[in-house]
Subunit: 321 residues, 2 copies
Amino acid sequence: MTNSERMIEGISEGNRRALGRLITLIESTRIDHREAAMDAINQLHKPKKNTVRIGISGVPGVGKSSFIEAFGLHVIEQGHRVAVLAVDPSSPKTGGSILGDKTRMEQLARNPDAFIRPTPSAGSLGGVARRTRETIIAVEAASFDVVLVETVGVGQSEYAVADLVDMFVLLVAPGGGDDLQGIKKGIVEMADLVVVTKCDGDLIPAANRAFQDYRSALHMLNPGSSGWIPKILKTSAHSAEGLDEVWSAITEFHKMMGETGALDAKRADQATSWMWDEVTSTLLKRIKTASVQVRDLEAAVPNGDITPSEAAQRILSDFER
Amino acid sequence: MTNSERMIEGISEGNRRALGRLITLIESTRIDHREAAMDAINQLHKPKKNTVRIGISGVPGVGKSSFIEAFGLHVIEQGHRVAVLAVDPSSPKTGGSILGDKTRMEQLARNPDAFIRPTPSAGSLGGVARRTRETIIAVEAASFDVVLVETVGVGQSEYAVADLVDMFVLLVAPGGGDDLQGIKKGIVEMADLVVVTKCDGDLIPAANRAFQDYRSALHMLNPGSSGWIPKILKTSAHSAEGLDEVWSAITEFHKMMGETGALDAKRADQATSWMWDEVTSTLLKRIKTASVQVRDLEAAVPNGDITPSEAAQRILSDFER
């Protein structure tokens, strides 16, 4: 049996070391590693598993790690295996990410039914998104049936994460108005579930106010076409209060989306758009390398020296040569 | 002087017939027309004009035509020239669009300082968006300094329109909750200005309630990074009430964005992304024609028979052959 076959077999048996090896290959930029990773992913890829993929976003300080640890442990108690992944393309610049940080989720990290992986330091958001979805396939193949994908809300990472998961959860803190400074425009309306964290002790009155305010706001926003009405809940990682309600909301969502066929449709659409995203990003990479004019045009177009259409034509002509 | 030179000169002088001829060329699918249009646009294209581009969205029935007519006339009274364009990619299917419909804006249509153009029946959203932005250049060259771009909210057209304009305005009717069925998820949070229409007669109490509700909702949503706090206003096309406040909000926005450099930055970013959008969409069109496997892969990927990455690789190999 080759190393690769051993790795794939190990993953299918839920072996964490084999899983870690595959993810390392997925994250690597070496071509031989990339090919080995793709080969393994192609073999492990099994659609229509009864898995739940949840995106978790919120500004730094809202209590993501505390929530994920407490919630993860709760979900494990319900009989599941939980993987925690992270999308944070800025981390290479900061030299380390606070997302997926095992030191902040020590108890969960030690649990054999949990698997925590810090963000891949892969650079571009597109690269991180691709690696994350391949890692989702890998952890699901290793029988982690609940996958939490954390995002810190930098740049466009929430949109990338929303495109990777079944359900998008936004954590907000009791501060109310203050915290809005951090939450990116458009994210509240994207959430399927809003969770007010830190509802304990002195913060309970503020948490209740935030709860009411967000509930009124959500009431004014369109629930979208899936039939699911976004919910808002209160939790405390400290007291574990509300975690069961969060899990109930998620299973309710999953059940509803499953019954209407909306979940399959969503994952099918995501797969199709991932395919085209990869085709597009590969082509754009090649064009930027192949076209001598690109750098000049990227300066000329924003300046208004040349129309975007004219610039596009020139780039395409270069590419065809 | 060639026909083309005559047309360009006519447009620069504000001649409506010359403008109409150019827009017909822009909307045409004939290659010779396309080339003539691009040539004219390249010559007429002058950045940094003191023009205002406003997107106007809202569900059918909210009163877009009434609002645009009343508002357009108000803006003309302030000494401007107003162009009304429309983005509605679904119109070819319905055989005619209600957007940009001169019969619903008769008084405005007759005004020499107004120019109304129904949606180009060009099919794809990308095609409609490109033609619309070229038409914006054309009308601005003909001295229409306020450009209103209408969208009915079908599919992704609001996102396309938001990418074409300086400011995004959402019209909502006094119905409150009922109307949310129509407004697409994400649009409320995208708006720089929300206008409650039909604030007259029997509807005043309902309009006031909608006003309060949306105001509270907007308060909970992040204003974004430009520094502009989204406003909400009430209007009545019937009594002309509130139209001056809408125009004041728009000029205030424009002034603020101008002073901070945010407007130039926004238009520069839009130009760059238009360039890459065109490169990408042209390449994708070629790929879909060149690759024999695409149709099969587009069925296999959503089914989960093959991973998106593997499918992407196959498509790219086809394309390289």
